[in-house]
């Protein structure tokens, strides 16, 4: 089966006063039709930039896509200019995005309804009346009470959770093939987070789209994603099915991440193992392995080369010279 989206060796840089920042450094991944994929990493690891590149929403300059292919439905999107009619029909039409900040990603001077209707009129060529009707339906589907009245509200009149729900309604409004949710619930409370994620999954099921969840929250990915990519400093360091990555992590970074977060279902006495040091400076990246300066197994690793993403199991890849398993470092949980 041909994947819906295949990103091959994507490279994105930013020219800054201090030097060239390699935000995304040779990232490859794919998303199948109807699949829910998780992309995990700390802030600054390039996970958002990589997603913005897919819809060419990166400000150029200072940003620049310097290499790679983004093949969506068999066509390389990078061959089209960011303002070409092809890109415009993809962006918001076939690929929709849900952003982190529901406060800042809506335009404050237009009503919520107006903003949902805009994409309906543009992509589906509906007239105003039909677009409004559809927008009300969509708001009802995501659980906005009194949608007929609320459609005329402005973003500031919505609560954070409601704004994010309206954002989901907007994202699925044109029946996209792919929805990219970039930290969709980071700014929200836990109960609202659960509520919003659940609505997002319901809508994904209803509209049969694929979904990419970009997040730093390991729990969210464990709950919803079928496949996972773990990113660190602009690269994918581990990928595989959620079950494989969580139960048998094969990269020291993934193992360290899992050992550093407290779990709700564990005994209290366990000591957390923080990851020492800081993520690397993306201007001046460590030679050879990017994780080596923070890796607890660095002393064991004598290889002088940059590790490649290599297969460690059925559809399970890790970027590490060593054959690490959770037990090699100690108990994960």
């Amino acid at each position: 089966m041909i994947p819906l989206l295949e990103v091959k060796n994507l490279k994105v840089i930013f020219n800054t006063m201090a030097g060239v920042v390699k935000a995304v450094d040779g990232v490859s991944y794919y998303i199948d039709e109807g699949e829910v994929v998780g992309l995990v990493g700390e802030s600054g690891c390039g996970k958002s930039v990589g997603q913005l590149a897919v819809t060419q929403l990166i400000a150029m300059p200072p940003g620049k896509i310097v290499g790679g292919e983004i093949v969506f439905e068999g066509q390389d999107l990078l061959r089209y200019k960011d303002d070409s009619s092809r890109m415009r029909s993809v962006r918001g039409g076939k690929i929709a995005m849900i952003f982190q900040e529901p406060m800042t990603s809506f335009n404050p001077v237009f009503s919520i309804g107006e903003q949902i209707m805009e994409s309906l009129m543009l992509h589906l060529k509906l007239d105003r009346q039909a677009a409004k009707q559809r927008a009300i339906e969509l708001l009802e589907q995501v659980g906005i009470p009194d949608a007929k009245v609320r459609i005329n509200n402005y973003p500031h009149q919505f609560s954070g959770g409601m704004r994010q729900r309206a954002m989901i309604a907007m994202a699925v409004s044109c029946h996209p093939k792919l929805v990219i949710a970039d930290e969709p619930t980071t700014a929200l409370d836990v109960t609202t987070q659960a509520q919003v994620l659940e609505i997002m999954m319901d809508m994904t099921e209803k509209y049969h789209n694929s979904l990419v969840i970009v997040t730093h929250n390991l729990g969210v990915v464990a709950r919803y994603a079928r496949r996972i990519y773990v990113m660190y400093a602009g690269r994918i360091v581990e990928s595989g099915t959620a079950d494989d990555v969580f139960s048998d992590p094969r990269h020291p970074y993934t193992i360290a991440l899992l050992r550093s977060v407290p779990r709700l279902d564990e005994e209290r006495g366990r000591q957390l193992f923080p990851i020492t040091g800081l993520p690397p400076n993306l201007i001046d990246m460590p030679p050879n392995c990017i994780f080596k300066p923070r890796c607890s197994l660095a002393s064991r690793c004598i290889a002088e080369t940059d590790p490649e993403l290599r297969q460690v199991g059925d559809n399970h890849f890790a970027r590490c010279h060593l054959d690490v398993r959770g037990e090699t470092i100690g108990n994960i949980h």
Binding site: D189, T191, G219, R223, S260, V261, P262, L272, P274, I275
Partner: protein
């Protein structure tokens, strides 16, 4: 609530904090925001009490009332046997030697024009401790090494530090006057995942070393449960459940606590598939116009008509387990 006189460090009795809402040019009072409404609990020496709830539930206000940043509307705050809730402002400053605050935002809470050493040492100057410059310098360096910072860093400015290091500076400042009680208001929620564990471990280490008592205010139940002895769950200004960390996960009674627990995902897909999911509908009601009766009943799936009649009192259902719900 059980009270043992000798071991209790802090006791809160019927704490209320109402903020007036005014309207018009004359600033006529038209209502109250009941941020904290009749909250009582005790914290034993050397213990950590976790206070959890959604944003706007009043958990930060409780912390600020205890520190007397706010003057509570009514109720008692008894610290080491002394009621401090009505202490005049000029006496409050001396009180702050005993209790301190660690802030949420490590970027906003440090003065960018002050060196790290001067930030950490400022409380010492205010309280006239260590008047000798040599001893003062020594104390500041001691505090730096206590929180795991290099003593060479005292002359650097906040912008030269990473988020985790800044939070360490904030902790060193809070500990400078050797307080016995520290309020940690969301100490890790602004930090990156890989750094959070460093700060959690540091707080626990310091507690063991210095015998500190913490009030940990946070919204992340898995973190709260990891460090707290007892946990109080707040909703709309009320404590709705109070119990120890083990009971809270194994035997949560209040429907809201159950929803809160189920909302926290566990990083393990196999466990997640088996968990019960409770998804709350709607939003937290406005504290300006709270529902009659149980504050949670409009969102509760177990509610019966009686729930809207009166505010349920916190009652003991098992040793060290209190719930404010008529349905359990």
């Amino acid at each position: 609530m059980e009270t043992s006189t000798d071991n209790t460090l802090l006791e809160i009795k019927n704490l209320k904090m109402y903020f007036p809402v005014t309207q018009g040019i004359l600033r006529r009072k038209v209502g109250d925001v009941k941020a904290v409404d009749d909250v009582s609990f005790t914290i034993k020496r050397g213990e950590t009490l976790g206070l959890v709830g959604e944003s706007g539930c009043g958990k930060t206000t409780v912390g600020r009332c205890i520190l007397r940043i706010y003057q509570p509307t009514s109720g008692q705050i008894i610290l080491e046997g002394q009621d401090i809730s009505r202490l005049p402002w000029n006496k409050v400053r001396g009180l702050r030697r005993k209790m301190q605050l660690v802030f949420q935002d490590p970027y906003g809470s440090l003065d960018p024009r002050q060196s790290a050493g001067s930030i950490v040492g400022e409380p010492l100057k205010i309280h006239h401790l260590y008047p000798d410059p040599q001893e003062y310098k020594q104390r500041v360096e001691e505090l730096f090494s206590l929180v795991g910072l290099d003593t060479e860093m005292t002359n650097r400015y906040p912008h030269e530090f990473s988020g985790g290091q800044r939070q360490r500076i904030g902790i060193a400042r809070a500990l400078s006057c050797s307080p016995s009680f520290v309020v940690c208001d969301e100490p890790i929620s602004a930090l990156d995942v890989s750094i959070q564990a460093q700060i959690i471990n540091l707080l626990q280490e310091l507690q063991n070393k210095l015998g500190l008592t913490y009030l940990l205010i946070a919204h992340d139940l898995s973190v709260v449960r990891h460090v707290s002895d007892n946990i109080a769950v707040m909703y709309l200004g009320h404590i709705v459940e109070f119990t120890d960390w083990r009971e809270l996960y194994e035997n949560p009674l209040m429907p809201y606590t159950r929803a809160l627990l189920s909302a926290v995902p566990i990083p393990d897909p196999r466990v997640e598939r088996k968990r019960e999911r409770i998804i709350l509908k709607g939003d937290v009601p406005s504290p300006l116009n709270p529902p009659s009766g149980c504050p949670f009943y409009p969102r509760c799936w177990m509610a019966i008509p009686d729930c809207s009649k009166e505010v349920p009192q916190l009652r003991q259902v098992a040793p060290n387990h209190m719930v404010a719900c008529i349905r359990v």
